[in-house]
């Protein structure tokens, strides 16, 4: 049983942050959203977003061997049971395995592909989900375990989804072992921008450290820029919402939301949301279910800008 505060935080994000965005996106593409993601055994996504969802592919982690398998199978059983008992089994399928492996390999551990991943008769598989909810308990990448699969999977996802608009909800643990990779990346982006203001902000982010408990700011800054970059290469306009930081069950998590809209270009696309706007975005936090602007922000961050963003999302804040 999760502590009340973490449940409240997660619930607040799902209902007050994600849900209006999902509703708006569903209206914009004029259809229920076909879902791909990690709903978890309690399928709270389905309960809270159900009226906006169409076909659902749910992923639950199952490894083929090891002591954890029994616990994993119980979670799968609980997930399937809840889906059926709570009336979500119409237009539903379960795929078992690690989400990133399923994206990279095209199939789960049982050899089954996600329904909306078209692979037959084509050298270029294509995915046509409208909503991806990648709700990881783990971090962006673990360098000690070789290549950072989640980063690879994100790149592959955007490539697979080419020419198909979608919403990406990404939740990551702030922990990672990518070492100085994030700082290098932020510095590199800074070197490519002409704005001294933005260079200062990016430098500030790149210097955040675990020692002063601000490590998560590097992830906060990196992920939107990285997603945006991959999106452009794959001809998407990428809109990034302000990242949200919260405490879960013994973990610190960051929640990102992106809208990717195909531009149909041959060369890389560009977004209406400018680089500077992404760099200057404030960090939002959730405490006991309430949204606030983080008290600690990058230099030059104007509180009013942050409040404006929250107001646009219909969220009251201090």
């Amino acid at each position: 049983m999760l502590p009340l505060a973490s449940t409240q935080n997660k619930e607040a994000i799902r209902r007050r942050w994600d849900k209006p965005i999902i509703a708006k996106f569903s209206r914009s593409i004029k259809k229920p959203l076909d879902y791909f993601g990690l709903p978890g055994p309690d399928i709270r996504d389905f309960h809270d977003w159900g009226k906006y969802l169409g076909f659902k592919t749910g992923i639950e982690v199952v490894t083929k061997r090891g002591k954890v398998v029994e616990e994993q199978l119980r979670k799968v059983n609980a997930l399937e049971t809840n889906v059926i008992l709570d009336g979500f089994s119409e237009n539903w399928q379960l795929r078992r395995g690690f989400l990133e492996n399923i994206i990279l390999d095209g199939v789960d551990i049982d050899g089954n592909a996600p329904a909306l991943l078209a692979t037959e008769g084509t050298k270029n598989p294509r995915m046509t989900y409208d909503l991806h909810n990648w709700d990881f308990q783990g971090g962006l990448g673990y360098k000690s375990k070789g290549e950072a699969k989640r980063i690879q999977a994100l790149k592959r996802l955007i490539e697979l989804q080419r020419a198909h608009p979608f919403l990406l909800l990404l939740t990551l643990n702030v922990r990672h072992t990518l070492g100085t990779e994030l700082s290098r990346y932020l510095t590199g982006i800074g070197n490519e921008t002409y704005s001294r203001k933005h260079q200062r902000i990016l430098k500030w982010y790149s210097e955040r450290k675990a020692i002063d408990s601000t490590e998560h700011y590097r992830t906060k800054a990196t992920v939107p820029l990285f997603i945006r970059q991959i999106a452009h290469i794959n001809s998407f306009d990428c809109y990034c919402y302000p990242p949200v930081y919260y405490e879960g069950w013994k973990e610190h998590l960051l929640h990102f939301v992106f809208t990717l809209t195909p531009q149909g270009t041959t060369l890389p696309a560009f977004s209406k949301q400018q680089l500077g706007q992404v760099v200057e975005m404030p960090l939002v936090e959730v405490h006991s279910g309430k949204f606030v602007l983080a008290s600690f922000q990058h230099p030059g961050c104007r509180k009013q800008d942050g409040l404006d963003v929250l107001r646009q999302l219909g969220i009251q804040s201090k």
Binding site: L73, R74, E80, T81, L94
Partner: protein
């Protein structure tokens, strides 16, 4: 006493004398786990049969709806019946022991839960009663069990894994707090079936057909007599339960499997089947088609004929009871079910027959009497034959006005062969008189009127024959009569001398018209053949007409050859 050195004295009664017997003890360790493998391979190699067993359990638990869902590599059977508490759930582990009341439950063999042993790696039962806040979960690691047994078989030391030990080590219980207050349910998951089994279970048509044949599904709400039959069955068949079965195959819309609405049926015959001592052996319902063709021809071959049921589960198939009809062609005119209510009649494990017993013999005799007993005036066969004869009679009477009209027109025109006309009217009268008694009420009245009309017309023709009126005079009279009533004056054609052939109705007439003479016993034989042709082919069909034309032609050739 002779020395029996090989027997351990601790197990042997010291005072046992020659000729006396005792029961040597058998330890649990002497019943091997392999027994489970043997039984499941022998009984449940088809995944559909295993699914049936689990659905059967659901209905035994008073579920009104059972959902069967195939998704990924798993199959789920969900019901909202009574659910199970902890103690009842643990009883599910028991091997070949059934707590079920034989009168109200069908799954009484006690091996049902192990139906999936050879089919899946893991079976999970998750259940909850309405009054509890916990969900009880029991997990059967069938894959592990099979793996252990295989390893033991390969091991040159041939270690024995006792059945009880095997089950004890690979069945685990745990519970979870439930968010579903007040709800009762049982969900069975068969996990990790092979691709072959999943493909079989994902075939919607096959699943649907199997469920219809082997599970007690409800009637379609559109079926006219559904409620009446259900009510009668619930009242008279102890433990009768039916359920709505919902089938969901991954990515397909869910399908409700139910007995279809078969239109154009007469109201059902419903009642008990008694043995010679007046003891009720079965309860049946049967509906006869109101059309003049079998249900097979009408697009319902799956429901043509009757089938044995025990509490809603099919025993055998619909061909089983066809042998009870001596007139087999009439059997598929019926649709229905025979519910065996005698507890002494036991189905085989495969449910394709009943175990041999005096009770089975008594049942079969009683059912045969109901279906086709020669002494039974209300037998289904007799009812159907009478209905068939009545419909044929109605059809003949219905066609008679046109036949009379055709003759009448020729008489009115004046250009006709009077002998042929007289003979045609004779045939019409013969048909009307022979069919009148078999016809339905209003057709009988029509037949009476038509007989009068035909007789009057025949009198007129006879008068022409007796008067020997020349054709030319008749023609003039006919033309005048036609103009008097405004009819067009017929223009004689070059072939006007050749009268038009009147339609031939049956084989007997074909032979008669061909000029062949028959003895009375020949007439009986030909009539029987004629009736069989009419029953099986139908008198108003192209095939029937072509057949008779062909026979007429061949008889004509034979006549010429003579």
């Amino acid at each position: 006493m002779p020395k029996l050195d090989t027997i351990p004295t601790s197990q042997f009664p010291k005072d046992l004398r020659e000729g006396q017997s005792f029961n040597p003890p058998l330890a649990e360790s002497q019943i091997g786990g392999e027994l489970l493998n043997i039984l499941s391979k022998g009984l449940y190699t088809d995944p559909l049969d295993a699914i049936r067993e689990y659905a059967q359990n659901s209905i035994d638990a008073n579920a009104e709806t059972v959902e069967i869902q195939v998704t990924g590599n798993s199959v789920f059977i969900l019901d909202y019946g009574d659910g199970m508490d902890y103690n009842k759930l643990l009883q599910a582990r028991e091997f070949a022991i059934s707590q079920k009341d034989i009168m109200s439950n069908v799954g009484f063999r006690g091996i049902g839960i192990y139906s999936g042993f050879d089919l899946c790696n893991r079976l999970v039962i998750r259940t909850k009663t309405a009054g509890e806040e916990m969900e009880h979960i029991l997990e059967f690691e069938f894959g592990e069990m099979r793996h252990k047994l295989d390893a033991a078989r390969q091991d040159p030391n041939r270690p024995v894994i006792p059945l009880a030990t095997l089950l004890h080590r690979h069945i685990a219980y745990h519970f979870a707090k439930s968010t579903r207050k007040g709800m009762a349910f049982t969900m069975i998951q068969l996990e990790n079936l092979s691709d072959t089994h999943i493909a079989r279970l994902s075939n919607l048509d096959e699943m649907r057909g199997y469920i219809l044949r082997n599970l007690p599904v409800r009637f379609s709400s559109e079926f006219q007599y559904g409620k009446e039959i259900e009510k009668a069955l619930q009242k008279n068949v102890e433990g009768y339960k039916s359920a709505k079965i919902i089938l969901k195959i991954e990515r397909s819309k869910s399908v409700t499997v139910e007995k279809p609405n078969i239109p154009d049926l007469e109201s059902p015959r419903i009642g008990f089947v008694y043995d010679s001592n007046g003891k009720p052996m079965a309860y049946y319902w049967a509906c006869l088609t109101s059309k003049s063709e079998s249900l097979s021809s009408r697009g319902f071959p799956e429901f043509a004929g009757l089938v044995y049921k025990i509490k809603g589960f099919t025993i055998g198939d619909r061909n089983y009871l066809s042998s009870y009809f001596t007139r087999k062609q009439i059997y598929p005119w019926w649709t229905g079910e025979v519910y065996v209510i005698s507890t002494e009649v036991i189905p085989t494990s495969a449910r394709d027959d009943f175990e041999a017993s005096p009770a089975k013999d008594a049942l079969e005799a009683a059912v045969k009497y109901t279906l086709s007993g020669a002494q039974n005036k209300e037998s289904l066969q007799k009812i159907a034959l009478e209905a068939q004869a009545s419909r044929r009679a109605d059809q003949i009477i219905q066609n008679a006005p046109d036949r009379i009209k055709e003759v009448k027109e020729k008489v009115t025109e004046g250009s006709y062969d009077e002998f042929q006309a007289y003979s045609a009217l004779d045939d019409i009268l013969s048909d009307l008189q022979s069919q009148k008694g078999k016809a339905s009420g209003d057709k009988r009245t029509l037949a009476t009127r038509l007989i009068t009309t035909a007789k009057n017309l025949q009198k007129q023709v006879k008068k022409e024959i007796d008067d020997q009126t020349p054709v030319s005079v008749r023609k003039r009279k006919g033309a005048k009569a036609a103009t008097d009533v405004g009819l067009p004056i017929p223009i004689p054609s070059a072939e006007s001398g050749a009268p038009k052939q009147l339609p031939i109705l049956n084989l007997l007439q074909v032979i008669t018209h061909s000029g062949w003479r028959m003895r009375e016993e020949d007439v009986q034989i030909i009539s029987a053949i004629s009736d069989a042709l009419a029953d099986n082919i139908g008198i108003n069909t192209d095939l029937y007409e072509r057949l008779l034309e062909d026979i007429a032609a061949r008889l004509g050739d034979l006549g010429e050859a003579k």
